[in-house]
């Protein structure tokens, strides 16, 4: 695997960054598939694009501004109805900070 575009170690690192968990089998398969895809993408190396500007917007446009007028936002009860867990009018989440008692 000397020429691998991406190693198993890198796959596990990226999974951690993306908050994904992969079993050993899944990680091995992911490494093989990403390696094949990145190998194909190495075809871009034949192009020298150092002088070509990147396309950030395919269709040229201005960043539009809108008047800063308050509008009605979504109904709180309707929004919280979709939350897996809610409490006291807010989203309930697992403990984030340990507090010494």
């Amino acid at each position: 695997m000397a020429d691998a575009k991406i190693t198993l170690e890198q796959v596990l690192h990226v999974a951690k960054l993306a908050r994904l968990r992969l079993s050993d089998d899944e990680a091995r398969q992911m490494q093989q598939q990403l390696d094949a895809i990145l190998g194909y993408m190495a075809g871009l190396d034949e192009l020298d694009v150092s002088d070509v500007p990147p396309t950030l917007h395919s269709i040229p446009m201005d960043a539009p501004l809108r008047p800063d007028v308050p509008v009605r936002c979504s109904d709180r009860a309707e929004t919280l109805a979709q939350a897996p867990e809610s409490e006291a009018g807010g989203f309930a989440v697992p403990l984030v900070l340990e507090v010494d008692s």
Binding site: Q10, R19, M30, L44, V52, L56, H57, I59, P84
Partner: protein, 487 residues
Amino acid sequence: MSFPWQSAIEIREQVQTGAVSAVDVARAHLDRAETLNPTLACFLTIDHEGALAAAAQVDRAQKAGETLGPLAGVPVAVKDNLCTRGVRTTCASKILGDYIPPYDAHVVEALRASGAVILGKTNLDEFAMGSSNENSAFGNVANPWALDRAPGGSSGGSACATAAGIVPIALGSDTGGSVRQPAAFCGITAIKPTYGRVSRYGLVAFASSLDQVGPMARSVREAAALLEIVAGHDRRDATSADREVGTYRAACDRGVKGLRVGVVRDLVDGLQDDDVRRAAQASLAALEKEGATLVDVALPHAKHAVSVYYLIATAEASSNLARFDGIRYGLRVPGQDLTETYTNTRARGFGPEVRRRIMLGTYALSAGYYDAFYLKAQRVRTLIRRDYDTAFEQCDVVCTPTTPTPAFALGEKTDDPLEMYLADIFTLPPSLAGLPAISTPCGKSSNGLPIGLQLVAPPFEEERLCSVAQAVEDACGLVGERPPAIG
């Protein structure tokens, strides 16, 4: 009466005159949806109650002598990544399996205002990531022309429902070909509008610099009519274009006399598939006969489109899908702490293709690789745009097939993601350039599968696409042909 095969335009006329009631139309189409869905799996949700209520409202307005909306009483299917207030919107993902949006997408509002009757929400590849609809967490959609073939993706459910006569028109979304490719596979027409032509408000984001909502229909004219309804400026999408909406339906009658059709010769003549090559060449000859001029053009960088697209789209997806964390809506799989809750939720909630794309995108954006992959892809994207700029100096539309082959078999490409990506080669370049494109049927293969022709125009020239596609439809389209695999 054979409601289910009537066009949207016929239905609207008959509802307006009172010849039929919108409720009867809705019932007939709901019945067909119920009958065929166990075989085709094109709907994830069939909304009886909502459809009948909307139809009843149209009938009340008709009785009161009001002028009805342009799609009054017309049954429409909506891809399940477009938010519908009060109706489950899943993106064909377990992570949104029970999600009920508190608001309507802009295009859904527009449909409701036009008097359209939303029949239900259609199946798709999870989060619109796929080209065969096999990435749905809720089962495969079948191709009505051959049940063992893929309907295409990601808007496979909308394409299938339209081709099967369940609805005359439907909405899909297109990031790299997701309305055009399934339209080609299912023998219908679909338009990917110019980036910014249709508001993305309420379309669940996949790759924000590429996503557009697109109309799908059994005829060019109906697709044009639907585009007139959903196009237009919307402040809630900062990339929405503040430009007048075209007269797309009228453009269908303009003909092609004097238009220059650019033929990407090496792509058309180099096609491996004899049926697709012959159908494309025959439709070009037909356009020439109608008064168009054929000119040879080149897109020398189009061959890099798969690499560029699958770097940019996955990078954007990895960022957009970070919001699915199990906190504010959707699935939550609790863990010991916050990080473990995120990880558990995402590990359980996302399917294999979505995970693969998040991984690829996260890698392309990660420290040390950004310049080599993401930035490089954005630079090559510029070269692809310039190819079109050059082509449009010589022609008015650029023509290629929509897909290299007709519908492939279900299961044929599922083990090899790269193979699946490579099948998108013709639809990706116009997406990367933000250009409007249409796919319309131009014939059938020797084994009876539909073949699609793709036309691409300069920004906001959707009218031109309608004119040319109508000429293709008149010469070699499939309007009126019913898929043999269903009753």
